[in-house]
Subunit: 323 residues, 2 copies
């Protein structure tokens, strides 16, 4: 074993007692075994230096976030996290960086009992690719194409924090230090709504996680379900830090801001009570922001109206530069 390989092994090769892992790190392939009647949900996401994070980003937070954004994809399907593979491209092998990165990564992996089963390390510009595996009862996944006309549209948490932090970084606004700390923490250490996604199986019809912005991501659900989403701007839950912004900046952060990792989901109105109970049990706020409908108002996949019912879609769509 070369010294570099030994170093990587030291930080990432951790034993697992998961009976689903037949063979973990160290062979040509990992071998995994699924339970009966289960589907495997698989997703992959890449974080690239300069595109998804600042080149001087803290390694521990990066390790956490690289896993969190992938957990969020499982959450949006309602899947239970099981296994993960990690591909690291590094300009050089640095002990301290690997130690910190693995600390952040495993902190979250252990919380969800996710076993690291393989991966690779490559020399090159800093970039992190994670492939995650979750399990689902067959046929029950929260697909994007399964929204029904008449469904309520819900969103978890409060939106806009990550974009607000970016506005501060870009010197477009100046936040008070305590507000910046709060929204910066949301940007760097997002919470994947794993428990909420699992609890919504059987209650919600469709779900997506908000990574590109509420309107853009809800648009994917509407398009794939051949429906139109109609949401009321003033119902969208906004992070408290947005209150002092100009109205257009506030809308841009909450409706078009990415990197949120909250869930947007649709459910029949008969499920309202069940969803409210799930929200209370998990301590995760959920808010009804609109309705899925047949294409009754033009061709846009998402229609945004203000509190008075005025169509403000064009101004919201103008915020695409946020994505």
């Amino acid at each position: 074993m070369t010294p570099e390989f030994a170093l990587i092994d030291r930080y990432f090769n951790r034993p697992t007692h998961d009976p689903g892992v037949v063979l973990g790190i160290g062979d040509d392939c990992a071998l995994i075994r699924s339970k009966l009647g289960v589907e495997l949900a698989v997703s992959t996401d890449t974080l690239c230096s300069g595109t998804h994070f600042f080149p001087d980003a803290d390694a521990e937070k990066l390790g956490y976030k690289a896993l969190a954004v992938n957990l969020s994809d499982l959450a949006a399907m309602g899947a239970t996290p099981r296994f993960v593979m990690l591909s690291l491209t590094l300009p050089s092998i640095q002990d301290a960086w690997l130690e910190a990165f693995s600390r952040g990564f495993f902190a979250l992996a252990q919380r969800y009992n996710v076993a690291l089963i393989g991966g690779n390390t490559t020399r090159g510009p800093l970039s992190i690719s994670v492939t995650i595996f979750g399990e689902l009862p067959a046929g029950q996944g929260l697909r994007r194409d399964a929204a029904k006309a008449g469904d309520d549209i819900w969103v978890s948490g409060a939106l806009g924090a990550a974009s607000l932090a970016l506005l501060h970084h870009e010197a477009k606004i100046t936040l008070p230090p305590n507000v910046f700390r709060a929204v910066e923490a949301r940007r760097l250490l997002p919470t994947a709504r794993v428990e909420l996604g699992q609890a919504l199986l059987g209650a919600a019809n469709a779900a997506i996680d908000i990574s590109d912005g509420l309107v853009a991501d809800l648009g994917h659900v509407a398009e794939r379900s051949n429906l139109q989403a109609r949401i009321t701007r003033d119902e969208v839950p906004m992070h408290a830090g947005l209150l002092n912004l100009r109205a257009d900046q506030r809308d841009a952060c909450a409706l078009a801001g990415g990197d949120e990792y909250e869930l947007c989901f649709t459910a029949a109105d008969s499920a309202r009570r069940q969803i409210t109970m799930i929200s209370e049990q998990l301590g995760v706020a959920v808010t009804r922001i609109g309705t899925m409908q047949k294409h009754t108002e033009g061709k846009n996949s998402v229609i945004v109206v203000d509190g008075a019912g005025q169509d403000i879609t064009p101004s919201i769509r103008g915020f695409d530069h946020f994505q």
Copy 2:
């Protein structure tokens, strides 16, 4: 859908009729279903511009190779290829590049009935991460840790072509044009020994694919099996293009050269006839190059001897710069 997203969709979103793919590209996760009694073999590999290929590498060949090196990991486990995920990091979205890359990728994917079930595209320095999924009868995978003392050591094909092509690129040697074309084709379009790996299930005990060099990779098998591999240099099958090299360059290419994607495997001597038959049926040469033994000759995991039985391990280990 943004124009960029539509372009990627156009080249990569191809319908599959595989009943194992419950949900393919376009949702938060792909959903796959395994057959009963089957284990899923999973592997991931990254090709990075400047590290694994020249920055001006041909996109079609790159698409082919990115899949081939991952198929090779499945081959080394004896698994049947089923699904693949593709993460592309691109400095810019270029129609011609995507068209050529996808052509190379799908040429190989279709040959092995591998369904592209998901992935992502990111802006950044050119790099390609592939995660591949294969199926195996439970408990039958060709693991690195399953070699037995007394096993024959076999290698498929002939070694050294990819390294020979690199020596020419680095202007350390000058090859006749026809020889260069032949070895360059081996370097850029390697053959994953998928059918051989599958046929070896039940015949071989352990296997690995040669990506870092014969001695290095066989060393992994020996270490994980707590054994010592003893091979005879003059038995190692060398690519014909190596015949005119200096002896040390020849040994370096054949024994320490990476990027081969031939299989090195061990099997009981009672399996010799079966292995010869497999080789003939598939038209893939296999050669016996040594024996697995208990640690009888020091601590090295691999011992290399010349035709006269002289230990030449130190000189071979000096070729590490090739890796």
